[in-house]
Symmetry: C2
Subunit: 335 residues, 2 copies
């Protein structure tokens, strides 16, 4: 079980796993488990994971047996655990909190050989519905202030298992990155009575030189101040604060654009490692209607070095205009 500790300098929270407390030997370079036979996320290996909390499965099949399309299980090595009592305390001049939270894994397909970009639109729609369902379920617990959905694809991006999966974490605090975004959304709204992301969407649709692709409900583009090369945002055109409020009639187009963007990234950059994050508004907090949910996709092509650590300031050697021109250029079929 972990602790949340507040850095008094930057007001940033850190999760410290006092239970694991890895020594130097725990940091050897690990290889991804590539063997299909021993993978705990494969069909037939259901007993290797904790019992499932959600699944798309055949009506006559039993939990934790084969016969599923998606399967959600608690993380076997959670960063945070839900059993814990919520305690806040001071340690000398410092502040900490018990690391209470949920940490789940959504196995996206029973097929070990397919990654998210390779799945059918139908399957991607199923996955999006799981994201929604689990977000709604976890936000029922009023101790939690944030539900984060993210995916690490590839060893360099932090994945430890090859079988295609997404992670979901509920947190007892609103993370700093989100608070900062919210402050900005609110400041902009107070001044202009408009949403800053709605304005960005409008501008990107007008100029088109950072656009990657679009459909009726979504636009994907490389953001103006991309922190890393080939960074992509996918944004719903209509204002919506919470991802989990996504309606069935736009899930189709979300699946379509997500697939298209991932295929473009895969083809342009030769199947790179990447991180995928759904940025959404806090839960169980005062209404944050100014927020506008969106997806961030960050191919992992460069390293965070001393400069970035020292400044919180990124050096990016590919402008978003050039990145989008490469991403647009590759041929993809109509999905």
């Amino acid at each position: 079980m972990g602790e949340l500790r507040l850095d008094p300098i930057t007001a940033r929270w850190v999760i410290i796993s006092t239970e694991k407390n890895f020594g130097p030997d725990n940091y050897q370079v690990e290889k991804l488990d590539t063997e299909e036979g021993i993978c705990p996320f494969c069909e037939g290996k259901e007993k290797m994971t904790p019992p499932e909390v959600d699944a798309d499965r055949a009506k006559d099949s039993k939990p934790d047996t084969p016969g599923w399309q998606t399967r959600t299980v608690p993380n076997k090595y959670p960063a945070l655990a839900n059993q814990a009592q919520m305690n806040k305390s001071g340690v000398g001049m410092f502040d900490m909190m018990s690391g209470v939270g949920d940490h789940e894994v959504i196995v996206e397909t029973p097929d070990h050989s397919k990654q998210l970009a390779d799945l059918t639109i139908e399957q991607i729609k199923r996955i999006i519905r799981v994201y929604k369902r689990r977000s709604l379920a976890l936000s029922q617990d009023e101790r939690f202030k944030y539900v984060l959905i993210f995916k690490n694809y590839g060893l360099v991006a932090g994945a430890s298992l090859e079988h295609s999966h997404t992670q979901l974490i509920s947190l007892p605090v609103v993370p700093r990155r989100v608070t900062e975004e919210l402050e900005c959304f609110n400041r902009y709204f107070d001044y202009k009575e408009r949403c800053i992301f709605c304005d960005i969407v409008r501008q990107e649709m007008e100029y088109r030189h950072r656009e990657v692709c679009e459909n009726r409900d979504f636009i994907a583009f490389c953001p103006f101040a991309s922190r890393s090369p080939f960074e992509i945002s996918i944004v719903p055109k209509k204002h919506q604060a919470q991802f989990m409020d996504i309606s069935e009639d736009i899930i189709d187009n979300f699946a379509l654009i997500l697939k298209e963007v991932l295929v473009r990234v895969k083809k342009t950059l030769n199947n790179p490692p990447y991180n995928f994050i759904i940025h959404t508004s806090p839960v169980n907090s005062a209404q944050q209607e100014q927020y506008h949910w969106h997806v961030e996709i960050m191919p992992k092509l460069t390293k965070i070095a001393g400069f970035e650590w020292g400044t919180g300031f990124y050096i990016n050697n590919t402008s978003p205009e050039v990145a989008s021109s490469y991403l647009k250029k590759v041929e993809v079929q109509d999905y």
Copy 2:
């Protein structure tokens, strides 16, 4: 030449290199240049770098020839360039600035086979004096608001050349990470009329369970909310806002503790890649006397993944108390 772009959501600046504008093929994994014969930082290869701007060299030797102990040259591939005119402008609803700044490389030794941890105390003192001299020189240009000194050691930490070197960048804006720290220093001071770092030093010296080592003028410890395993701060015991104000009588002890910490890191973690950053107060700005300069050393043992990107919140699997116990345990000689 680069552009500085302001992300309107997070108020974070990003440097975009519109000149390089690397395509997908530029992101192949590069190997470190390990061959002594062709290294541009080796003695005898001075013509391979831009002309030196500073050097510790024998009195009878000429610039850009052999006979030096340290040598500072402009970076051949700078993130920012000093020739540029300073322009600030709007781009639609976005803001940008020309990427004006200096980017220098301090070659720490003529000996290709030695890293910073291997150098003598005398040589490390020379290097610290170069840090000081170049910081003072670059801060003469009133357009610059910040001078950052950092070191990437090892490929994983972002180094592109093996020969031991430090980088120095002057920036036309105060980076967000520093602004945030300053806000915190000021808030704490307004409330308590004390420096938060002076209080942290006092507390770490009292409890000792996160301490790595100390001497009369400095203490090294693993910070309470370490973002990554085995993170270490080196802090001067006496309050001082600017690193470049370091006096000759404490340079000795700074060299001693820096060497000891680097040797402990090298022995404990089997010569890991690391980033080293000097955090100091802005220059050419209103007095920021509340700041307390310090060094951050971050061994690169884990990867920044989706969770960290999505939250600005780190997961760390080794508590600083355990990390410091490992670091203290290894035997090092007296320096």
